[in-house]
Amino acid sequence: MSSDLLSHLTRQTSRSGGSPSGADNERRWDIWLLFFVGALVTYGLVMLYSASAVMASQRMAAHNVLLWSQTQRVVLGVGLLIFALQFDYRWYKRLVYPILLGTVLLLVLVAIPGVGVVQNGARRWFSLGGLSFQPAEVAKLTAVIFMAYSVSKKAKRMGSFTIGFLPHLVIIGLMVGLLMLQPDFGSSVILISMMMLLLFVSGARFSYLLVMTLCGAGLAYVAISNSEYRMKRILAFLDPWSHRQDIGYQISESLIAIGASGLSGRGLGNGAGKLGYVPELWNDFIGTIIAEELGFIGVVVLLSLFIGMLWRGYRVAFNAVDAFGMYLAFGITSLFALQGMANLFVVTGMLPTKGLTLPFVSFGGTSMIISLFAIGIVLNISRNEEDTWEEERDRRAARREERRWERKRRNILKRRDDLRS
């Protein structure tokens, strides 16, 4: 019943939107996915303002500096979303190697001192005329595109190690290596997790995955124990209260803000965490202010929106017309779900602090733009259009042949006329 209503609504909306596909009007894009994402973005803007107004009015030009900046990014992101919605996703498959090359170039560039901007002890940013740009966000999407392309191409050969496993490990490993130069441990973990997820779904051998998980855990252990900074983060995670004065400060304050407000929350705008207690409240810890001000209900709404997005995203994947579309929709949706989950785990003290944003909600330009663009891709997949490029391959060839024959005919006729004259 409800799905009937949904499809009805979807049809109506896209019809009134005046879809340009004309005769192919049967293929709607998934407006519910757009609804969930739009709700998340709106929710984020509201909470972002609540979280940042105090800080912005004290340290910046005006109380709404962050809100305005984020709104600009959202507008830019929506522009990209509309573009992606119209742009046949199969082109990413065709252009996967240039995309991969471009991403690697960006990651190399950002690692060069003087090009990349150091912030909070990590070289993660480009600064382009006031706009900061984070290649790691691009790398996540690129990894998903590459994995979707690769696993859909290899299909039944996924069970083999050399074909189904090793190439992914090499390519993703290269990107992870570049990310760790910054260093960006959080994004690296996301990249590897995404690879594992896609390998798992596409039917790679379970034993390989298990071995790799163990190896990854070993590597992570080495990475952690080699860095005092990460070690402290783990310690702070295990016992935030005894590290409250230094590394555990943020998480302790976050827990206090969430817990002390009670189930009903303090009410929108009434939170105390924003008074400088929870650092980066508008960024990685936006979940804290949602829980603090809107209480348990606010958190449930947030989680419902994410689950809704997950559901619609996977539905698009199921109904995709080809394997690449399926894996791509699955990958992108999973990427957001994974990041959202990891971020909220950090905020609630269930994972060590990693520096991951909450997609669509947190303040953060690159993340917002790329995320909206990626959702545009999923929406494009949801249109379930035939691969006109492939379908028309024969017709194109026929047309070319026909044109050739036409030219030939004209030449013959011309020659005949010449002979006649």
Binding site: F200, I258, F330
Partner: protein
Amino acid sequence: MEHINEPRERFWLKARFLMVGVFFTLGFVAVAGRVYYLQTVESEILQERAAIEWNREVVKQARRGDIVDRNGAELAVSVEVPSIHANPRRIDNPERVARQLQPHLKLSYEDLVARLSRDASFVWLERQTRPSAAEAIRGLDISGVHITREYKRYYPLREIAGQLVGFVGIDGQGLEGLERQLDRTLAGGTYEMRVTRDASGRAMLLSDAPQFGKFEGHSVRLTIDEKIQRVAEQALADQVAEFDAKGGWAVAMDVHTGDILALANTPGFDPNRFRHHTSADWRLRSVTDTFEPGSVFKPFVLAAALQEQATSLDKVYDIEDGRLQIGRNMIRDTKRRDELTAAEIIQVSSNVGSYKLAQEVGKETLYNYIRAFGFGQRSDVGLRGEQPGLVWPADRWPEITFANVSFGQGLTTTPLQLAAGTAALANGGLLMKPRIIDAVLDREGNIVEREEPTLVRRVVSEQVAEQVSWAMSLVTIPGGTGTKGAIPHVTVAAKTGTAQKVNPETRRYDPDMWIAGFVGYAPAEAPEVAVVVFIDEPQETHYGGTVAGPAFARITAEALRVRGVMPLPPGERFQLQEEPPEALASQAAAPAPQHVVTLPTMRVLDPTEDEVAEGQLPNFTELTLRQAIDRAREFGFVPEVTGWGRVISQDPPPGTPLEEVGVLNLALAPGGRHGMLAEEPSAGGRDQQ
């Protein structure tokens, strides 16, 4: 879809999708569960932690009330100033912060680093600093360094009445003087507020702001007149400097009300810089120090003798050539004479004569009079550390002590007691309780509490008081010991004193240690102000008339001028060149001293307080010229004035509607309420009986 067409493949694919989806969903549910757990089970513990961190009990001290003189001139005020403090736990790099702050603070770089490195969450960097420094530091915007506003006590008149006013500590607690004594009145309350603070410690008032007004400290209006006080201190300082003395005290008092108009001590003391003075300088010596008054005590002996009808002003006494042997001791006068009248004993300050007068009264009776004049007991003026002085009971007086007491040795008193006693002589024999606090005022200037002038008792009759005044007036005319205390055009009743001091080391009278004294009042015929001046341990010369007299004259003249007392017309002044007038010389048939306990008296100080109907011309009668002009100005007139002194009549009469007044004519005549206007019903204290 080439590879997922087989149903088995498709089933497993779907299953794996589902597994991942369930995994994420469970993850999100876990987040919800965790938040639920935090907000219910852990909530209480976290709330406690939050309360410790976010909330703060702010105890705010009310603004301290002012201390003002009788005319509202500010002696002590509180001003809001910034104070700089820091939270060292929030400062990562003390060296850098110290370098940034140092140019704006008094602390040295090393001290700053030490303070900023301390393991505490609160340290003062500089309290009550300059606003410009605070502004500069605010501009630096260093996290962990904060600015709060505190009240700082400021004494605009600096050393004027310094000891009297006292001072407060840096937290606004009264430490000395009136500041300490009236601490509870001045300080007001404290209000406690629960505020939320932000991470850098700034407090935010959320709601329920208390009514600050209720907590404000009250102001206190003193009876001191800043102008008289200033002159008194200057005059004392000049005399002390001239005679290289150790110090000096002066008290000026309104004789009718007991209002202390000036309470001066030298060396002076600036409460703004109390740390630069020793604690000895903080003492209000005119109240806390006792000494043997010396000859200035003689008028009280004369008053007792007159009241007991044991003598009269023209009764002649054998002075025995200024030498009188009493047992193993001898009392002597400075000049040898054979005979003196009772009045002349006062005039030339004869010790032998005074002893003869005392003998007329008798030990027990004299003792009672001394007590009745307020000696040997605290006046309860309400000043901390007031000393009662020491008067031995008469049954413990050997003959030599009796003789000594008759000229002011062998008993101790404070300058304030002497002023009050002298004022009693001036006030027609009525002893008023000294009054230092006039009223307690709230923030808007409304009177919260008023201390009325209090009559302690009648000591001698009005006639006796006037006879003593006549005798004392002889002191300041040629032939008297106190000619330097004379004031032109005004008869001054006075008595000089040159008291011997006991050397604290030898415990004997020291021939080089003296207290030069000068007590008196003016005008002698209708006294208004009594003034006592003592110079402690003057060098070179030590005679009271010479050392203290000039200061007395300056203070008294200033007090008369400030109080608007005009010279009396010649006809009403004492004729001192002649024998005592009949009325005075005759044995006064006065009533015996009544020991009245308290009787509040209230003198109408300013006739302008009379109610004036709206739109009508007020009564100018009895105003001085200046008061009359000021008053007329309020109503938009410039009066035409004839004569001098006080207003005796006006045209048009009081009560005339203002619009009908064309030109205001005022006729003035010299003379106070005692003379021409004696029958006026508004006269106070002395005319009351």
